[in-house]
Structures are given as structure tokens and as C-alpha cells.
């Protein structure tokens, strides 16, 4: 059997791929796609992309991620999601995700299928795809209910005679959406701080959208190649969107804005509350710059990191 090409719609591997967020979502995210996001866990969540997906009314998406904070809840409550493959769906500060609960418990606004994982099994599923393998073995989850009858996790024997294992089947997202600090015009991306499953998802995904705080000259990226977590040839679309991860944090650029997480938790308790949040923060705003203006200068000033604590130089002289 011949393999399906991995990146059938990748426009070009080298060269520039800078575009707007609106166009990136329009071109790269289709109805029915499996999209991975929120991969660093609580920081760098691409909320601007999440809101653009909602504005463009995508349908029947599968969401993939470890802990998505309230991003998955918003996509689910907006009716864009058919299936969730995740370890945790809720609101890290507040607890429950009410949109997720309404969809799972009552089928509102639509029924969703849940593929429960632990953080490690989501990671292994993406890592297997990133390694070009059908599965990876693990000991995690044995004795618990997550792995019982799981569509992607099966018991296997150790061919070397050791104790039994579980095999976690590969999971290849159609699209990974990743927020980073900086990238060059070719999409070579620097990310620092906690990485979570960012690398595994970018390597595994058929298409990767990189959203950055700033585009920098390629010399900046090449001055520190160890900090490049995504090589540009894996990147399908590159977007410069400062503040695109707010209210989540971006190391060296933005502090976490805590209040919107709690406010969302309170207001999304009812479907009507969610709809009013959706109008105010998504549907009535054309794009991320408008979102930042709606936050207001005083809030942005409070969140913007202006202190400098620079890494020591590393000498790459040949």
C-alpha cells in the first residue's frame, strides 16, 4: 500500500508564508479537520486563532490537546466541535468548563464524542505520529478506566519478555496551531519557556500554523538554532499577531491575565451568558487588534512585560 502524502496542501516548503490570521484559518482549517492547539498547556494558547475559527463558523472539528484551559470550552460551546481528544477540558482557574459539560451531558448546542486520555497518552499519540510510528508502548494508565476499551490504546506483549504494556496509537492532526515568541519570514520559529507538546504536535501535524509575537530577520533565528523548536519547512502559514495568545501568558512578552478566565467561568454557566460573552469578545470584534482595543490600554499596560532578563550569550562560532 502506498502512503498518503503527508502534506498534500502545503503551499511551499521553503520561501515566505506570511499571511493574516483570517487567511491562515480560511486556508488551513477546514470543516471536519482535527486541530491541535493549547499544546504548551496553560501558556501560549492561541486564543486569537480560536476566536477566528468561531467567526468563520467551522463545523465538525476534532480538538486535540493535553490541557486546553478555556479555549476548548469556547470552541465547544460555539458549536464548532464534534469530537475532543484530550486529557483535561475545563478552566484551570475556575474548574469546570460549562460549555464542555453542556455538550457532553445534554448535547447542547450539539453532542460531542469524547476520547479521554491522560497527558502522557496524548503526548505519546502525537509523538508516535511525529516519529512515523504506528504506536508507542507505555506503562501509564494500567489499572485505570481511561485505557479500558479505549479506541486508541490496546494491551500488547513485550517482545523481549518483560511485563505487559499498553500501545498508544499514533494521532496525526490535520492542523497544529502554535503561538511562539518570534519567527523569521520562512517560519523558523523560536519558542522558549515550557514546551508541553508543542514539538510533537508540530512534527506530527499535516499542516502547522505558526502565530508569533514578532517576525524577526533570519539572522536572529540562526544566531541561536537550539531555540528553534519548529523548522520553517514544517510551517504552512505564518502569522504575526502580537497579543494573540492573551489572556494566556507568553514568556518575555505577556503576563497571564487572570480575570478573563474567572469572568468567562462565571458567565458561561448559562447558555445565554455564553452567547453574550461570545458576542462581546468574538462576534462583535473583527480581529485581534480590535480585541486588544476592547481590553483597553490600562489592562494591556499591566500585562505587557517590559522588564528584561536576557539569557546569557552562547558562542556558536565555528
Amino acid at each position: 500500500m502506498t502512503e498518503k502524502p503527508l502534506t498534500p496542501t502545503l503551499p511551499r516548503k521553503g520561501g515566505e508564508k506570511l499571511t493574516s490570521l483570517r487567511e491562515a484559518i480560511a486556508e488551513q482549517v477546514h470543516d471536519g479537520d482535527a486541530i491541535a492547539l493549547g499544546l504548551a498547556l496553560e501558556s501560549g494558547i492561541p486564543f486569537a486563532a480560536v476566536h477566528e475559527i468561531i467567526r468563520q463558523q467551522r463545523r465538525d472539528l476534532t480538538l486535540i490537546g493535553p490541557i486546553s484551559d478555556m479555549a476548548f470550552d469556547q470552541l465547544i460551546a460555539a458549536g464548532t466541535v464534534a469530537k475532543v481528544i484530550a486529557a483535561w477540558v475545563g478552566n484551570v482557574a475556575g474548574g469546570s468548563g460549562y460549555g464542555f459539560r453542556r455538550a457532553y451531558e445534554q448535547g447542547q448546542p450539539r453532542r460531542i464524542v469524547m476520547e479521554d486520555h491522560s497527558n502522557f497518552t496524548v503526548g505519546l499519540a502525537l509523538k508516535a505520529a511525529a516519529m512515523g510510528l504506528p504506536y508507542l508502548p507505555t506503562f501509564t494508565g494500567i489499572g485505570g478506566d481511561i485505557v479500558r476499551g479505549h479506541p486508541r490504546i490496546r494491551p500488547i506483549d513485550d517482545p523481549f519478555g518483560g511485563p505487559n504494556l499498553l500501545a498508544v496509537g499514533a494521532l496525526r492532526p490535520d492542523v497544529a496551531i502554535i503561538h511562539v515568541q518570534r519567527a523569521d519570514p520562512q517560519g523558523n520559529a523560536h519558542l522558549w519557556g515550557n514546551l508541553g507538546l508543542t514539538v510533537e504536535a508540530a512534527y506530527a501535524a499535516r499542516r502547522t500554523i505558526v502565530i508569533c509575537e514578532e517576525i524577526v530577520p533570519e539572522a536572529v533565528i540562526r544566531s541561536d538554532p537550539n531555540r528553534t523548536v519548529i523548522p520553517g519547512f514544517l510551517v504552512s502559514a505564518l502569522v504575526e499577531e502580537p497579543g494573540g495568545a492573551l489572556p494566556s501568558s507568553v514568556q518575555g512578552y505577556w503576563r497571564r491575565d487572570f480575570e478573563p478566565f474567572l469572568a468567562y467561568h462565571r458567565i458561561s454557566r448559562t447558555p445565554e451568558g455564553f452567547q453574550s460573552w461570545l458576542r462581546e469578545w468574538v462576534l462583535d470584534l473583527p480581529d485581534r487588534p480590535a480585541y486588544l482595543r476592547h481590553m483597553g490600554d490600562a489592562v494591556l499596560e499591566r500585562l505587557r512585560v517590559t522588564d528584561r532578563r536576557l539569557a546569557a550569550e552562547a558562542n556558536f562560532a565555528p
Partner: protein, 249 residues
């Protein structure tokens, strides 16, 4: 320094005392996060903390944090890696102790954070996160729970984080810290190790939906020292995690 303290401050101190010096700790959020910092500041200066987002730290975050990804938990870290990296260390057996919370627990230390019909109708909970991995792979686990009858069940509806079971390769639940006391789980039964000051055995029995061993001579949980309270209030200045009522909606 006043000797008054909240129940959650007492739980942080109890969590800190579960960490021994030189241990590698898989740190959870909320109270365990503060417990790790407190242990580092007091009796376990050489403990190392792993966070599931990939961060490795050997000193507490530099300022108050809401999540493990907040910038003060990244600045000054020993390493910022990926989730699979730290989970791999856990799977190898390099983690001595891990902390996990849950919505429901049973006498074997099984935790449910996935879904329950305990109150009659189906309630979907957020899920495992890293809890199931820590429960499976850490050298021992410390559970942290609200002590309420609906949460302490003879059998949980769903085992998100496995407790004791035949054939377990390693570890398992060691200690359960609740709003009422500290309990030993090592034998596969729940035995009170200490009750928080002012808590009676009767109160604990009424709040526990299964038989529980409480000896007559069960001691009171040691109260926080002035230094311990000072640390906690420095790390959580507004009592967000340790106030008596959580400020979350």
C-alpha cells in the same frame, strides 16, 4: 505572628511534610504547589520539582502564580523541556512522590476526575490531566481532597487515577490529605494518621462514605509554625489558594 491559620494553610503544611529532602517531586497545582515551595524553604532544600508542562525547578516560583505556565514559574527554572520529557522521567521511576487531587476517592485510593453519577444525574468532570500518569508511575502518591460524604465513596464511578490494585508495578497511594485530617493509604484501607485540630472522629465518619479506621489515640495534625505561615502568606499573599473560601466562582 498570629497562631490563627486556615484549614487550607494546614493542608499546605501537611503536603510539605510529605516531601523529604533530596526527593524528586511531581508537583501539582494549587495546594501542592505551595507545599513544594514550603518544603524547599524549610526541611527539604534539595528537593527538585517536575511540572507536567516540561518545567524543572529546584526553587519556588519567584512570585505568586495561578498556573504552572505563569512567567514567574519559568524564570529561574533549571530546565524548560516538553511534557513527554518529564513524563518519561516519571515512567523510568525517577520521581519519588507525586501529588494529585480528585473529585471522588474510594478506600483503595482510586480517584475519579472524569465523570460521576453520584448525585443522581451525570456530571462530566474535566478529566485526568497528568493525574492518571502520576498515579500510575510515581514512587508514591499523595492525594488531596475536600472531605465530603459525596466524594468519599465505597466505589468510584470511574477510575481516572488508579489506586492500589493487584499487579501494580510501583508506587500507589501513600497519604490522603483532606479538609478534616491526614490519612494513611498504604495498606489499601483508610486509616487516620491525624485529625486536624478541633475535628472529631464522629465528624470524619459522617463525612466518609465507607468504613474508616480512627484509633482512640489518633493525634491532632501538627499546626503550622510561624515560619511556615509566613512562607505561605508570602507565596499566596491574597489567600487565593489558601483562604477559607476559594475565590473561584
Amino acid at each position: 505572628m498570629t497562631s490563627r491559620y486556615t484549614r487550607r494553610e494546614l493542608m499546605v503544611v501537611a503536603a510539605a511534610r510529605e516531601i523529604r529532602d533530596d526527593e524528586v517531586v511531581f508537583v501539582g497545582m494549587r495546594l501542592p504547589l505551595l507545599g513544594f515551595g514550603l518544603a524547599k524553604a524549610t526541611h527539604a532544600p534539595n528537593a527538585v520539582g517536575l511540572f507536567e508542562n516540561g518545567v524543572i525547578r529546584d526553587r519556588p516560583a519567584e512570585a505568586f502564580i495561578y498556573t504552572m505556565g505563569d512567567p514567574p514559574n519559568i524564570a529561574g527554572a533549571v530546565a524548560c523541556l516538553g511534557l513527554v520529557d518529564v513524563m518519561s522521567l516519571l515512567q523510568q521511576g525517577r520521581v519519588d512522590v507525586g501529588f494529585i487531587g480528585g473529585a471522588e476517592v474510594d478506600p483503595l485510593g482510586n480517584l475519579n476526575t472524569t465523570r460521576t453519577s453520584g448525585s443522581g444525574s451525570l456530571v462530566r468532570l474535566p478529566g485526568s490531566g497528568g493525574g492518571g500518569d502520576i498515579a500510575s508511575l510515581a514512587g508514591r502518591t499523595v492525594l488531596i481532597m475536600e472531605h465530603e460524604p459525596r466524594r468519599f465513596r465505597e466505589r468510584v464511578d470511574y477510575i481516572t487515577s488508579p489506586g492500589h490494585f493487584p499487579g501494580r508495578r510501583r508506587g500507589g497511594p501513600a497519604t490522603l490529605i483532606t479538609t478534616l485530617g491526614v490519612f494513611d493509604l498504604t495498606t489499601g484501607r483508610v486509616r487516620a494518621a491525624s485529625l486536624h485540630p478541633g475535628v472529631t472522629p464522629q465528624q470524619v465518619r459522617e463525612a466518609t462514605g465507607f468504613p474508616i479506621t480512627i484509633d482512640d489515640h489518633t493525634p491532632a495534625t501538627a499546626t503550622p509554625s510561624a515560619d511556615e505561615l509566613a512562607y505561605i502568606r508570602h507565596a499566596d499573599p491574597e489567600g487565593f489558594w489558601t483562604g477559607d473560601s476559594m475565590k473561584t466562582a
